[in-house]
């Protein structure tokens, strides 16, 4: 078990919603990962679809560089509708 890779598990709870990360597990291969994910994470009809992804394949942004990485969005308030003035009485805008 020590050499079994870690898999991240994503569940789609109903049609129309996206898959959401629910946790992880160890399994020797993709098929076992899927079966174990079903038993561990969907015992109460929590899902209609499951993804398992080898954790080692996930590329993540660096929490230490979060500020620099996400900064560029900070000064672009005009991307939000609340930035704009709407004259009194104008509706559906």
């Amino acid at each position: 078990m020590r050499d079994w890779p870690l898999w991240e598990v994503f569940v789609r709870s109903r049609r129309g919603l996206s898959h959401v990360h629910v946790g992880s597990l160890h399994a020797p291969d993709a098929e076992m990962a899927l079966r174990n994910a079903r038993d561990v994470y969907t015992r109460r009809q929590e899902g209609v679809s499951l993804w398992v992804v080898p954790a080692a394949e996930i590329v993540a942004s660096d929490p230490g560089e979060r500020d620099a990485f996400f900064d560029p969005a900070d000064d672009k308030v005009y991307r939000h509708p609340t930035f704009y003035n709407v004259p009194e009485g104008v509706e559906h805008l």
Partner: protein, 306 residues
């Protein structure tokens, strides 16, 4: 964001954030101990699956015991986000270097004990676990949300077992009362030592791992349980229980913590049996793990060749 700022703003710490060593160590110890408790906790009830009094009770009990296995897995996965290995944690359990909840060192002598465990032990676990859904460490908090959702069925099925027995024949009623008599005090011990004798509590509170003190949680459990016992028509084995108008809480007797410390030391009725069974199950399952690994390796070679 810096760790202290994060805690000050009641934010959540995530796996790759920087955190003090002590915080990490405390979490690993607590989450591992919690995970171990879930899987060792399968034993006392598992003991009754083959003897459940009806198919309905048997199906329910199997689902409950399977849930506890699931809780263990959620928690081992949460612990692993802190950089430890599940295999090592199991090693530490098997060699007695890490503990599990002492409540599981008591035997299940009768079917009513299954009811008492669901009602009292899962009930106490819920009181302990609900605040952990707001724990400062994200993966632990998220695992606890899943666990708590599943626990309420556990408590209700236990209550229902006792309710059926307490409204049954005199012998069934006596069996239910006996189970409650034996499980009441150990359930109160599940909240840990009293506040003035709980050296690590203050630090855990400061870190947002613990949200309420042991004594506060114990009181909450008593307040919740006394009216339920009345509804069952059973008595709790403590003559000092009475409503205290002034405090707005039930008063109750003094818990004998020397018993708790004895059980923690390994002198409970079932310590050896529980651990031996766990180690045996792990060793007996080795061939399954080996076969799965061998199959995966063979498939990988085939896919590589194709």
């Amino acid at each position: 964001m810096d760790f202290d700022d994060l805690l000050a703003g009641d934010g959540r710490v995530e796996p790759r954030d920087e955190m003090p060593d002590g915080y990490r160590r405390t979490l690993v110890r607590q989450i591992a101990q919690h995970a171990h408790s879930e899987i060792i906790g399968m034993q006392p009830e598992g003991n009754w699956i083959s003897r459940a009094p009806s198919l309905r009770r048997k199906a329910i009990l199997m689902a409950k015991v399977q849930d506890e296995a699931g809780h263990g897995l959620y928690l081992y996965a949460a612990a692993e986000t802190l950089g430890v290995d599940r295999e090592d944690l199991l090693d530490q359990l098997h060699t007695g270097r890490q503990k599990y909840s002492s409540i599981f060192n008591y035997p299940t002598l009768t079917w009513a004990d299954v009811g008492a465990i669901g009602w009292l032990v899962d009930g106490a676990a819920i009181v302990n676990q609900v605040p952990l859904c707001r724990c400062s460490y994200g993966p632990y908090a998220r695992a606890m949300v899943r666990v708590c959702k599943e626990e309420s069925f556990h408590q209700r099925q236990g209550f229902e077992i006792l309710h059926t027995l307490s409204h049954g024949t005199p012998a069934q009623r006596a069996m239910a009362q006996d189970a409650v008599d034996r499980y009441w005090w150990p359930s109160l011990m599940m909240f840990g030592p009293p506040d003035d004798d709980s050296p690590n509590s203050a630090q855990s509170m400061a870190w947002g791992i613990k949200r309420f003190s042991n004594d506060d949680l114990r009181q909450r459990f008593v307040d919740m349980t006394v009216p339920q016992a009345e509804a069952l028509g059973l008595t709790l084995p403590d003559p000092e229980i009475r409503w205290n108008e002034e405090r707005g809480h039930y008063d109750f007797g003094t818990v004998d913590f020397t018993e708790l410390f004895e059980v923690i030391k390994g002198n409970g009725p079932c310590n050896q049996q529980r651990l031996a069974h766990r180690v045996g199950a792990h060793e007996d399952g080795a061939w399954v793990r080996e076969a799965a690994s061998a199959y995966a390796a063979k498939q990988a070679v085939r896919e590589g060749a194709a």
